[in-house]
Subunit: 210 residues, 2 copies
């Protein structure tokens, strides 16, 4: 095998391991990611495994990176196909709900599980998670601000306030759908943001009625 | 010491241990509650400890009970002093935000941490947590329905939908305030529910303006 071939195979196994790691962490938390256990679950040899990660913290950090990239591909990118403005704000929320509703990750949401676990634990993993969350919030804010600039939301809207609301209404689906409301949580979350945006938008016909 | 005296001392140490357990679990999760560790943290002798709990699951279940009672005392009871109707709905939300803002528990919220941890783990602890959450949701729904009956919210309001919104906007304070927004999260959560209720209430003057 050429050096390029070995490199490619290495990248593929790294990708496979990280996908598995993010799925596992969405269920059991990042702290449950032991190198030995993951090596067993992925069927990668221990030596192959240690070629990528020498310690658990680096694996956790790489899992956060992988999850952030998945979120960008599955939630942010689809929403970018909607026209800029209030429709893109709602498309972002809908793409997130689809991500949850499709059970893309077995535990629902990697970030939800990881944040609840690390919010009280100072260190590199917590910092990386906080940055991912700030980036996401900042992105919602920018989409809201853009809708204001386009005249599709009133000037009186505070983007940080509305971004908080949209994020909270979406994120709580994870707990509510898994612990008691079932699929109704998705409907509540969708309707809450839809009605909020329709009430604010001077031209509600831009958005679906229900 | 009389038998009654011993019994009282036993109840007190049980109470002390559970308070400490709920505080610890709000930071590190219920799974971190090892009997040995808690015995050390509370300074209760191991024999005193094992007089109350033989296994970790029973301790976890008792911690959930204790946390549910604390929530009733610190959030539900204060709200009952507000007049029934839309003011009580908002008082419930405010009492919760005060609970968080006062850092009553070192990790912010016992239930948030425990739910994120146990939503994927079938068993008695998960069932008890799900019941606590259903009770809480059901309580918000009843308060909303009462406000509808009193004519302080319109008939068109779906209590389950509005209860989801109020709960989501409140609960996400835990993650947002600890990971990036800081105290602003409390303001966003307060304003979001206040403006939502004012927009719905035929007599918004029942509620504060801001």
């Amino acid at each position: 095998m050429t050096q390029d071939g070995r490199r490619l195979r290495g990248l593929r196994s790294r990708e496979t391991i990280l996908r598995q790691a993010v799925g596992l962490a969405s269920v059991e938390g990042l702290d449950g990611l032991s190198l030995g256990r993951l090596a067993a679950a992925t069927g990668v040899s221990k030596s192959g495994f240690f070629a990528h990660w020498q310690d658990k913290e680096q694996l956790q950090l790489d899992a956060v990176e992988w999850a952030a990239r998945q979120w960008a591909e599955r939630v942010v990118e689809p929403a970018r196909r909607a026209p800029a403005g209030v429709r893109r704000v709602f498309a972002l929320h809908e793409a997130r709900l689809t991500f949850y509703g499709d059970a893309t990750l077995p535990g629902g949401c990697f970030f939800f599980a990881a944040q609840a676990e690390f919010d009280d634990r100072p260190g590199a993993v917590r910092d990386r998670l906080a940055r991912a969350m700030r980036d996401w919030q900042e992105y919602i804010r920018r989409m809201v601000a853009e809708a204001v600039t386009l005249g599709e939301l009133p000037e009186s809207v505070d983007p940080a306030q509305l971004a908080y609301e949209i994020d909270a209404l979406g994120e709580m689906v994870i707990i509510h759908s898994r612990l008691h409301d079932g699929p109704a949580a998705l409907l509540y979350a969708r309707r809450a943001v839809l009605q909020r945006l329709r009430a604010l938008c001077p031209d509600p016909a831009l958005l679906p009625e229900d």
